[in-house]
């Protein structure tokens, strides 16, 4: 072979190899592989489903991203969506799919595994975990007695530059959807306008915890488990921060439900139903309760991690998890300039 011939052969074989290797990453379409679009924390979902493949022979492939991103992606994909199961961090995103008619009804036996407060009346999806809204604060920056009575007070001018939120994240957007459901559109618009002036925007709840811990900002709106998880790991990030629960049915005591649903467009509905049933059954729920995730279990009869204050003592407002309006929240937040 001539020198140039060898070079050409080298180039061609590299190309073929590279394409073959790159192709390895693309989605498999085996009969027994479910594609799961998951917005819940990777570690939590993987822990709960640890033994699923071994017990059922069904392989799982995850696409991990944000609640609203995945929900809107499924809507765009429509009939062609590769997703079989959708797992959310918060319920507004899965509610959007329900209203669009993109979810298949779940089996009654699956629904019955979860308390009624943690699933929608439609029966097209079901909660598999829950988390409580909380205010994280730094006691050396602000004493506990100066904390606001309601989360809505954080829109007052007195809080200018003193409250942290993760506006781009699905968690905060879920909290806004609860404010919208409880207080109505005008009050929500006013609250968001106040926050636009007052809030320091962070990229995530972990970033908020770190900022509060270091005294960059005295308080932040977050979910309970970020702090508990950090405490369990010896307070690596948030050892100086504390949690404050609003209680009293305040919008700031909102409990957000993580939802699981089967896509109507899936051609593996049977396996997908098994996955959702597995996720809400006692074994996976106990695995959640026993894990370091420190979110609340919602299976009837499963007690949550003992480190957490009992869910029913948090004074959460009554909100229909199926009635939260994600598109309206996006619109209001864009209007306020928070997105």
């Amino acid at each position: 072979m001539t020198r140039s011939g060898r070079a050409a052969a080298g180039v061609v074989s590299t190309l073929v190899l590279a394409t073959a290797l790159a192709g390895c990453g693309s989605a498999g379409s085996d009969a027994d592989t479910l594609t799961v679009y998951s917005a819940q924390h990777e570690s939590l979902v993987r822990t709960m489903l640890e033994d699923f493949t071994e017990e059922t022979g069904i392989e799982l492939e995850f696409r991990d991203a944000n609640d609203s991103e995945l929900a809107n992606q499924i809507i765009e994909e429509g009939e062609a969506s590769p997703a079989d199961v959708f797992l959310t961090e918060n319920s507004p995103a899965i509610g959007v799919l329900d209203r669009e008619g993109l979810l298949a009804p779940l089996e009654q036996s699956t629904l019955d595994q979860v308390g009624e407060a943690y699933r929608p009346s439609s029966g097209n999806w079901v909660g598999f975990a829950a988390r409580s809204t909380a205010l994280i604060y730094n006691p050396s920056e602000i004493p506990e007695e100066e904390l606001p009575a309601s989360m809505l007070d954080l829109a007052d001018p007195a809080w200018e530059g003193r409250v942290a939120i993760a506006a781009g994240g699905a968690d905060f957007q879920a909290i806004v959807s609860a404010v919208l459901a409880l207080e109505g559109e005008d009050a929500t618009r006013e609250w968001l306008a106040g926050l636009q002036r007052n809030a320091e925007i962070y990229a995530s709840n972990t970033a908020i915890m770190k900022a509060v811990d270091e005294g960059e900002v005295p308080v932040g709106i977050t979910y309970h488990y970020y702090w508990f998880r950090d405490q369990a790991e010896n307070g690596l990030i948030g050892d100086d921060a504390r949690l404050h629960y609003f209680g009293n049915q305040d919008p700031g005591a909102f409990v957000s439900v993580s939802g699981a649903g089967v896509l109507a467009s899936s051609d593996k509905k049977e396996q997908a139903q098994r996955l959702v049933a597995y996720l809400t059954a006692a074994k996976a729920q106990e695995q959640l309760a026993g894990s370091k995730a420190l979110e609340y279990a919602v299976g009837t009869g499963t007690a949550s991690a003992s480190d957490l204050p009992p869910l029913e003592e948090l004074g959460a407002p009554v909100v229909d998890p199926g009635g939260l309006d994600a598109p309206k929240v996006t619109e209001l937040m864009q209007e306020a300039g928070l997105l």
């Binding site: 020198r3 790159a22 944000n66 925007i201 770190k210 937040m333 864009q334």
Partner: protein, 465 residues
């Protein structure tokens, strides 16, 4: 509806671009003068050290700074971090321009009684204009497209806001509208650069003989000059590398998953190799036509490719998401779409080097081969391609490196379950798991280092198209 937000983003983006371009121009030209025209000791070493920051991707630099100093999330912090990442874009063409200056002009000016400062301002600076403008344009375009570095510094610009919109609405109208404004800004920049460059030429009547210039003696200024260079290199290179080393230490204690790192590195290399091969293959006919078949169509073809590089990755990715989901749903979320994005974004880098290679290989050889009865295909294989091989290799290497550190398009388009070094680094560092992110950053820096060495050697080619 979005007007207040757009106004805020416009203000943020504009002041960061203006500030960074100004700082980079001062740092780049100043450092280039010291290295090329002054008597500062260790000029060769300084040159390599001043190009080296290019091996540290901006988002890794940003991570290194913010993980050490969380208070950097301000305008000044963003200005500092991105300037340290981008000043070599001005430094490199400025060095090349200093080298190309005819010393006779300066000597004449000095002979006519101009002071050293006046010679710099009235003789050298005007001749550096094209190089500095080219470098500044590159800084500005990179900045408009920058996502990772600014998101980590909590400094919102159009690109980070588009990503937030994408996370909240997939590709809703809000994201598309912001992307439209961003593309408009990029086009404005290109136009402004063309305008500013003007038509005044500074070419001499004859090239003159290249000869070494006698450096300006710094005398008492030697120590301050060394101090300034050391500070610049320390901030731009030692801080990120030191921070990386620190987090690598704590990452190892947190338990490094070697298998994960290996798999991720493997898929990154495979993607980068495929993209490099594809993009170079596409650049070959364009570069060839631009030299050998000069004409309106060839020029149009070449220029059209450049538009892609001025459009931020997030915009290209957003467009490909929409296109593939509507027109070719079976291709959606697959490797070919991701490769197409890389090709659109990095084609100009390959074209520049391929074009230079074609220019350097005389058509005579092809003619001789043809006269000896070689067929077209045979000629391509035996004469043309071997002659172009170094240029093709360089082009492929540039694309390869760009893909290794690409973040936004990969985040949006990667197939389910595929992680690259950049996305794995990103997910760990945005969860503030700095130790876990460090190994991925290190591999990216190591992969980028060889190309940086090449760049520091071949200054004349520079980075600008």
């Amino acid at each position: 509806m979005l007007r207040p937000r757009v106004g805020e983003l416009l203000w943020n983006t504009t002041r960061l671009v203006l500030g960074t371009v100004a700082v980079c121009a001062v740092l780049g030209v100043g450092a280039a003068w010291l290295v090329e025209r002054s008597s500062v000791p260790g000029r060769r070493l300084w040159h390599v050290l001043l190009v080296a920051p290019l091996a540290v991707p901006a988002f890794v630099n940003s991570y290194a700074w913010i993980s050490l100093l969380p208070g950097l999330d301000t305008y000044a912090g963003a200005l500092l971090v991105v300037s340290l990442s981008y000043f070599p874009f001005v430094y490199l063409p400025a060095v090349a321009a200093f080298r190309g200056l005819d010393p006779a002009l300066e000597e004449t000016a000095r002979g006519l009684g101009l002071s050293g400062w006046a010679v710099f301002r009235r003789v050298q600076l005007p001749q550096l204009r094209v190089a500095v403008l080219g470098g500044s344009l590159l800084v500005a375009l990179h900045l408009l497209a920058e996502f990772g570095a600014l998101q980590m510094l909590r400094y919102p610009t159009f690109t980070t806001a588009i990503y937030d919109q994408y996370r909240s609405t997939f590709n809703g109208p809000g994201a598309t509208m912001l992307a439209g404004v961003l593309v408009l800004l990029c086009l404005l920049l290109l136009l402004a650069e063309l305008r500013l460059r003007g038509s005044r030429g500074y070419a001499g009547s004859g090239r003159g003989a290249a000869r070494p210039v006698r450096p300006v003696a710094l005398r008492g200024w030697t120590a301050p000059a060394l101090l300034v260079l050391a500070a610049l290199v320390g901030l731009a290179l030692l801080v990120p590398l030191g921070s990386l080393a620190y987090w690598l230490g704590s990452g190892a204690s947190a338990g490094l998953d070697g298998a994960d790192l290996a798999v991720t590195t493997g898929s990154t290399l495979a993607l980068a190799a495929a993209a490099a091969a594809l993009t170079t293959a596409m650049a070959l006919p364009v570069g060839w036509l631009a030299v050998r078949a000069r004409g309106r169509i060839a020029t149009l073809l070449e220029r059209a490719a450049y538009v892609g590089s001025s459009v931020p990755g997030i915009v290209v990715a957003l467009a490909l998401v929409t296109l593939s989901i509507r027109a070719t749903p079976w291709l959606y979320q697959t490797v070919p779409v991701l490769l197409a994005a890389y090709a659109i974004l990095f084609l100009p880098r390959a074209i520049v080097t391929v074009r230079a290679a074609v220019e350097q290989s005389p058509p005579l050889y092809d003619d001789v081969a043809a006269s000896l009865g070689s067929s077209g295909a045979d000629r391509l294989r035996r004469v043309t391609l071997p002659l172009l091989a170094p240029g093709l290799g360089a082009g492929a290497a540039l694309v390869f490196l760009a893909v290794v550190t690409e973040l936004t398009a990969t985040l949006l388009l990667a197939p389910t379950g595929t992680a690259t070094l950049a996305t794995a680094f990103w997910s760990a560092s945005s969860a503030l798991e700095y130790g876990a992110a460090a190994p991925y950053a290190l591999v990216m820096v190591l992969l980028s280092a060889p190309a940086t060495v090449l760049l520091s050697r071949d200054t004349r080619r520079g980075l600008t198209p």
